[in-house]
């Protein structure tokens, strides 16, 4: 099993959710995050005074899938979240040792 963490543009939340549902990914955890990468933030003006925002709000998806699913999910995320501009985000993949469904006590891939 792998954990896939995708940090994407905030405005891609709905699009990506629908794309993951479309390939039958059932479970996911979504959090609002702030961060920075190659994208340099932007300027806002408050009563004429410049305010630099160097961390940018993004949305982070966390999902755990069977090893065989990883490439399909990554393709779906890239297709849904890509605009081609700097700031599209990143995907991190990491191994997951164990998964337990609390209600039934099932373990491993069954529990995902």
């Amino acid at each position: 099993m792998k954990r896939i963490t995708a940090i994407v543009r905030a405005e891609k939340l709905e699009v990506l959710k629908d794309a993951l549902f479309a390939i039958d990914v059932r479970g996911m955890t979504i959090v609002q995050v702030q961060g920075c990468g190659n994208q340099h933030g932007w300027k806002e003006y408050v009563r004429g005074t410049e305010v630099l925002l160097n961390t940018i709000p993004k949305v982070q998806f966390d999902l755990v899938v069977a090893d065989a699913q990883v490439d399909r999910v990554i393709e779906a995320i890239c297709a849904a979240a890509r605009t081609g501009e700097v700031g599209d985000g990143k995907i991190f993949v990491a191994p997951v040792e164990e998964v337990v469904r609390i209600r039934t006590g099932e373990r491993g891939v069954e529990a995902v």
Binding site: E44, Y45, V46, R47
Partner: protein, 424 residues
Amino acid sequence: MFDSGSVAFMLVCTMLVFLMTPGLAFFYGGLARRKNVVNTMLMCFGIIGIVGVLWIVAGWSLAYGGDGSYSFLGGFDQLLALPTVAQLQAELANPPADAAYPSVVDIAFQMAFAMITSAIVTGSLAGRVRFSFMALFMGIWVLVVYAPLAHMVWGGEGSLIGDVIGALDFAGGDVVHISSGVTGLILCVIAGGRRGYGVMSYRPHNVPFVALGAGLLWFGWFGFNGGSAFAADGIAALAVLNTVTASAAGLLSWMAVECLLTGKPTLVGASTGLVAGLVAITPGAGFVEPWAALVMGAIVSPVCYFAISHLKSRFGYDDALDAFGCHGIGGILGGVLTGIFCVPELSWTEHGGLLYTGDVALLIDQVVGIVVTLAIVIVLDLVIAAVVRAILGGKVRVDESDEALGLDVSEHGESAYPAFSGLD
């Protein structure tokens, strides 16, 4: 003769002016950082308590008591508003010919003015000043500065600024906006800037709060300017019309400046611009024609914008929420422009505006009135601040670590948004 229309109108205006202070709490609260919003709003709400009590105890008497024999303040015969009921009974039994409503209405109406004026000052203190400093300073200030100043401008015959100098102030350019704005400037210099001022940038934590507060201020301002006609009459209607006209022009001209200089209009800018327009028209609301209100509103926003975006960083004072930039600057500009645009027939003195009469007399009176207001306020502020600083053992600001933590928790033990972690 009492006129029930005017009694009803003035009571409603009193309530409208009262609403401005909670409205200002939202205006300032939205502009503050999320860790300081409780402190910022509580300064306004605290003022309502402090000024409400002190106004009855002595403020009303110092401002409007006495027989008019002092130029600088009212008198001491109305302390605790003791004669109120006896006066009311006397007035009802034998209504005075020149009054449209019983004098008890004025006690409440003017109390609401004292509240909003004191609350405006707190905008410059946000984010680093001890609540006790604010409370002590403003408590003394409302009795020692505001009440005498109200007498000097509106005390009728013999009063220093309104009569001896002959400056016009329809609803509170000198008394409310210049006095509070300049006091804000002095206190922010005394307190020093917020930690990291000029290094890091601050931005409003809740822009819709700012717009909500601006809306409440706006609505209340109709009572503020309209009620300053002291009767439900045509002058009140003119003041209300000029109020909405100037604020609309101020809102638009602020957005226009933003579009020119930064490319995009903002909601904080529109809210600030409409308030600047309200401030500018306040001294002239019942004296000028609607087209002049348009001009006053249109001019004030660029001037305040420049003061806030350039003067502040140029001179390095941290007027956190722009009490001086908005109210001090806007009030001075409005007072000067009243000397130009005042319709002679509407003037309270024998002088009319420069534009109509070609005579600079009123303009000079306006400028002298503003300069005298500034001098009185600055001197008294410095004295009061020194006294309060001594009482508090020199501690005007919170500790550096408390400032970093935020004044909501360090001064009040209360968080505005505890649901952030979902653990409450």
